[in-house]
Amino acid sequence: MKTPLVMLVDDEVPFVETMVKRLEKRKLTVLTAFTGNEALEKLGKHRNTDVVILDVKMPGMDGIETLMEIKKAFPLIEVIMLTGHATVESAIEGMKLGAYDYLMKPCDMEQLMAKVDEATRKRKDHEEKIKEARVREALSEHGLE
């Protein structure tokens, strides 16, 4: 399996920098964005992004809004919410809106890695299924089945 392509979105620059180093050390390809808008822009360019790690609390467009936009534009991309606000409330709201899971900040690296892997797998599965469906569609179109 090729390494997951992850995007980390957080307004805290030092946090992002360190996380990038740590994630890359774990063989992930990491994109970064410091605002919700930037994240959406970059996702447009990197449609093959597997997982977005999204901070809930950000100035300007906050995590929940960004999540909604991502899910609208790129439904297959999985989102893991990262929250300093470890409130069940906001987490549940995020889950309702289609987030894959949520983690509290500061988070355990192993836990985060596990979630990323799961999310990536889910994303791949979805992709596979869609591909299969498309193949089946194409085949039926050509009267092969």
Partner: protein, 562 residues
């Protein structure tokens, strides 16, 4: 409670005084006014009545005495006119006449005498030896020669006994003669002396010179007092009665009633102590005063009780208000502390996250070959682990702060309190076993469902149970959890047998950041979160604690209205 009772009136002395005196003045003034007016009117009319009664009495007796005298005079006149000088000069005949008179009227007539114009008593019938006595110089004789009929004043005369006489003058052969009869003093005296009213009322007769004509029952000094004034008064009418009230020489107030007798020669005087005459009025006055005093006492008592109650009521209201104010302040404080805490938590969380990540990064780097041989590798790893542990601790604190500020899952749902408690007991069972604590549950069956946020309520009870477990961690003990319906609330009690909470701490336990646990063990937010949650639910949380016996928390959850 004793203390509050003691301070109840003491706290409001001015208020109490004002009520007290207002009530007294507004109750007593009308009472005294009304009683005073009524008593005054009663006094006036009673005086009038007594005066009228006494005037009537005196008038009646004056008529009695007057008619007595007129009657006696009439008898003698008949005697003189019927028999004449010649027959009456005969002593034996005269004696017969006296006997006839005495037979007819009793011993009123003492003796009879016939006196010629020279003043010689020519005939006498009676018990004294007064035959041939010469009266020419006696004042009564001069008077008798001048007037046809005379009733003398009382005098001693030759016999040396007080008496008075009745004389009738007539003519015989051109010469005047006089027949004289002595009236028994005792019989006459009784006419007046028998006038007795009350204890001090008595009557007597004075002549124009102020000399006593009858023997008064009590001592009388005729030339003092109002007697002479009565004498000077000119009678307008025959039946005029004079009444005065004044103090005598002994300082007693007397009523004097007087009427002239015998065509103005004599004065019938009736006198009585005012206190005696008005004794009924005095009695009424005494009763009235007793009633006024009793009423006054009753009013004062009532005023006291009323004012005490009012002051107590006001004090209680004030206290309640104060308590409410305090509670408001407390709630406000909690809210603002909550906001502050949220801010701090958020601000601290990010730097802590970065620190932990940096530490993680160092750890990651230490995995590399170059460092594996490092001398201080273990020490590095220990330090990094410590950073991570402390970072986690910070996270716990901020997590709690945030949940204090913003409640966790606050979705409202139907909750069965007993199920929820059961669950919590199960969760706590493991910890309880380690601490050697038994958890007993005593739930009221079929409690109504309530619509609340389950996770909030869970937080409340979990906090209470955990606190109890903490308190009995070393000693062991029991936790009794009971649920029941009380009025409009479901009441859940969590009672432990721990060491108790010192009184000084008891009213601070709901304050944020107040903790008695060791540094790092507690945040001091648990109970204030519980307090905040219960307040938000419209419920209550209260605590009772006795040192060395245990602590009981009671949580009041309002029943949901259908």
């Amino acid at each position: 409670m004793d203390k509050s009772k003691e301070t109840r009136t003491a706290d409001y002395p001015a208020f109490f005084k004002k009520r007290f005196f207002t009530v007294i003045i507004f109750s007593i003034t009308p009472m005294i006014l009304v009683s005073g007016i009524i008593l005054y009117q009663f006094k006036m009319s009673y005086h009038e009545k007594v005066h009228a009664h006494l005037a009537e009495l005196v008038l009646k007796h004056k008529q009695n005495v007057d008619s007595f005298l007129a009657e006696k005079l009439g008898d003698i006149r008949v005697l003189a006119r019927t028999f004449g000088f010649e027959e009456l000069s005969d002593e034996s005949f005269l004696r017969d006449r006296l006997e006839t008179l005495q037979r007819g009227y009793g011993p009123v007539f003492v003796d009879l005498g016939v006196i010629n114009s020279q003043g010689l008593q020519v005939a006498y019938a009676g018990p004294f030896k007064l035959g041939n006595v010469l009266y020419s110089t006696a004042s009564w004789f001069e008077n008798a020669m001048k007037n046809e009929y005379v009733i003398s004043d009382v005098f001693l005369g030759l016999r040396g006994l007080p008496h008075f006489i009745v004389t009738v003058r007539d003519n015989w052969k051109g010469e005047s003669w006089v027949i004289r009869a002595t009236i028994d003093f005792v019989a006459f005296n009784n006419l007046v002396g028998n006038i007795r009213v009350g204890e001090t009322g008595f009557a007597f007769i004075l002549n124009r010179e102020g000399e006593l004509q009858t023997k008064p029952l009590f001592d009388v000094i005729p030339d003092k007092g109002p007697y002479l004034e009565f004498m000077k008064t000119k009678l307008k009418e025959k039946d005029d009665v004079q009444i005065v009230e004044r103090r005598d020489e002994f300082g007693n107030k007397n009523i004097y009633v007087a009427a002239f007798l015998k065509g103005g020669d004599w004065l019938l005087v009736y006198q009585q102590r005012a206190s005696d005459a008005f004794s009924d009025f005095r009695r009424a006055l005494k009763i009235a005063f007793a009633i006024i005093i009793l009423g006054g006492i009753a009013i004062v008592n009532m005023a006291y009780v009323f004012s005490t109650r009012m002051a107590g009521h006001v004090a209680r209201m004030e206290k309640e208000k104060k308590m409410m104010d305090e509670q408001m302040i407390e709630t406000g404080k909690l809210a603002s502390v909550g906001e502050l805490a949220a801010g701090i938590a958020h601000e601290i969380n990010n730097p802590v996250a970065i620190m932990v990540e940096e530490a993680g990064w160092i750890e990651d780097l230490l995995e590399e070959e170059d460092f594996k041989e490092g001398e201080n590798l273990d020490e590095f790893q220990r330090a990094l682990k410590q950073i991570r542990t402390q970072g986690k601790r910070c996270k716990d604190i901020t997590f709690k702060l945030l949940s204090f500020a913003r409640k966790t899952d606050s979705r409202i749902q139907e909750v069965d309190i007993n199920d929820m408690l059961e669950e919590l007991v199960a969760i706590s069972a493991q910890r309880a076993k380690y601490s050697n604590v038994t958890i007993n549950s005593n739930f009221q069956n079929d409690l109504p469902f309530i619509r609340v946020s389950q996770s909030e309520l869970q937080q409340v009870f979990l906090n209470l149970i955990n606190n109890s477990l903490d308190a009995m961690e070393k000693t062991g003990g029991t936790i009794d959890i009971a649920s029941k319906v009380e009025g409009d609330f479901i009441v859940v009690g969590v009672a432990d047998t721990g060491p108790g909470i010192p009184k000084a701490n008891l009213n601070r336990i709901f304050d944020p950041f107040f903790t008695t646990k060791q540094v790092g063990k507690g945040t001091g937010l648990g109970l204030s979160i519980c307090y905040g949650i219960m307040k938000k639910l419209g419920g209550e949380i209260e605590v009772r604690s006795t040192m060395d016996v245990g602590t009981t928390f009671r949580v009041f959850i309002p029943l949901t209205e259908e």
